[in-house]
């Protein structure tokens, strides 16, 4: 199949107003317009969505697993960012 000429798109669907768009898969298409139509035909056959995003896979810049330490470690020693860090007397502890 000459999908090699077609670009890869990632598909995101909002299942209901008020919810996030969620990644559900990918497909090959010529352009954004066609990717949207394919996504509708393939991923919303049972009214799974009210809105579709398509993004060229190549346009996604992703953090690397190997970078995880320097990316996320700095927040490990900052427990004071969590509500549970603060000890309050029982009568007011549902704050």
């Amino acid at each position: 199949m000459n999908t090699e000429k077609l670009e890869l798109f990632e598909v995101f669907i909002r299942s209901k107003r008020g919810l996030d768009h969620k990644h559900i898969g990918s497909l090959h298409a010529e352009d954004h317009e066609q990717a949207l139509e394919y996504a509708r035909d393939c991923y919303t056959r049972r009214s799974e969505g009210v809105s579709i995003w398509v993004v060229k896979s190549n346009d996604i810049c992703s953090s690397q697993e190997d970078d995880a330490e320097c990316f996320y470690d700095p927040s490990d020693d900052k427990p004071y960012r969590h509500a549970t860090y603060y000890v309050l007397p029982d009568p007011v502890n549902n704050m």
Partner: protein
């Protein structure tokens, strides 16, 4: 073990998912490509035996249902091809392997659909067996495969139910219709059991796949589940069980069953089923006939881009 391998095994043991950009052993990647592409090819080739009956469905209702089911299979093929491509292989390579015979698909689709009853039997038994396998694969260790399985399982239960319903209508019809249902059950029951693959002791890929949690349950355990769930379904249809050795085993809590004809299994896998050649030839022909559509899309896009470039200049 290198630290990469250790890190990989730690994730597997902790039931964490492996994601596309994570380091993975080359054999894990290869094993996944083999299993996932075989799965994708099965979805696509599986459209043929059922597609055979779309124009001859006995009512408009059965026709829209069957059409919708076959469309689903095309979508499932796409989910699985896309997921396989995340392992660094192209769609074109996958399709070429199918067409050259290098890659396999479920051998059940090499059996012909001789009667309308076969369409019912495929939905009920073949999709039924596939669901047992796929439910288990929802917990597979490779993230994109697991997510694809979850989506497919959600859509698939209608496939099994529509097939059973169609067969139930036949079984409750005239004596001739009931005979059609029995005949379809007889012909598809054993090949459906074969879908789970060889016995664990004979399975070439099983041990490593289990260790890496690509597979979560063994061929024989999954097959036993299917055998157990099918017995009462055959009773409700009022049909005779094709396996004369089927017998409840109180001690095991499972049905004992007769032995599968493994010579037939290997013969069909090795290309000697009724329809092996026809299936692949049809895939190649359909693919070739679609060339002009793909060419037109490319030409249109080139024209559009040229126009855009002109406007900018």
């Amino acid at each position: 073990m290198t630290s990469q391998e250790e890190n990989f095994m730690r994730k597997i043991e902790a039931d964490e998912k492996i994601e596309p950009k994570d380091w993975m052993p080359e054999a894990y990647r290869k094993n996944l490509i083999r299993q996932m592409s075989q799965h994708a090819h099965s979805e696509v080739i599986g459209m043929q035996p059922e597609g055979n009956w779309i124009t001859r469905a006995p009512s408009l209702r059965r026709k829209v249902v069957l059409l919708s089911k076959v469309q689903d299979e095309a979508g499932h093929g796409l989910y699985l091809y896309s997921a396989t491509e995340t392992l660094g292989i192209t769609r074109a390579e996958l399709i070429a392997a199918l067409q050259s015979g290098e890659a396999k698909y479920a051998s059940i689709f090499n059996y012909p659909t001789l009667t309308w009853g076969d369409v019912g039997a495929i939905g009920w038994l073949v999709d039924g067996a596939a669901i047992v396998n796929q439910v288990s694969l929802q917990r597979t260790s490779y993230g994109p495969y697991s997510r694809g399985m979850i989506r497919i399982c959600k859509e698939e239960s209608f496939h099994q139910r529509q097939g059973y319903e169609a067969l139930l209508a036949l079984a409750n019809g005239s004596p001739e219709q009931k005979q059609i249902a029995q005949d379809s059950l007889n012909r598809f029951y054993w090949p459906a059991l074969m879908m789970f693959g060889p016995h664990d002791s004979e399975s070439a890929h099983s041990a490593k796949s289990m260790e890496w949690k690509i597979k979560r349950e063994t061929n024989d355990d999954l097959r036993q589940k299917f055998i157990d769930q099918t017995v009462p379904q055959i009773e409700v249809l009022g049909l005779e069980h094709p396996d004369k050795a089927i017998k409840w085993n109180e001690e095991r809590g499972h049905y004992d069953s007769g032995e599968i004809d493994w010579d037939e299994f290997y013969s069909v896998i090795n290309g000697n089923g009724h329809c092996n050649r026809q299936r692949v030839e049809h895939h190649i022909a359909a693919h070739d006939e679609g060339t002009w559509v793909r060419d037109a899309i490319t030409a249109y896009n080139e024209k559009k881009n040229a126009k855009k470039a002109q406007n900018v200049a």
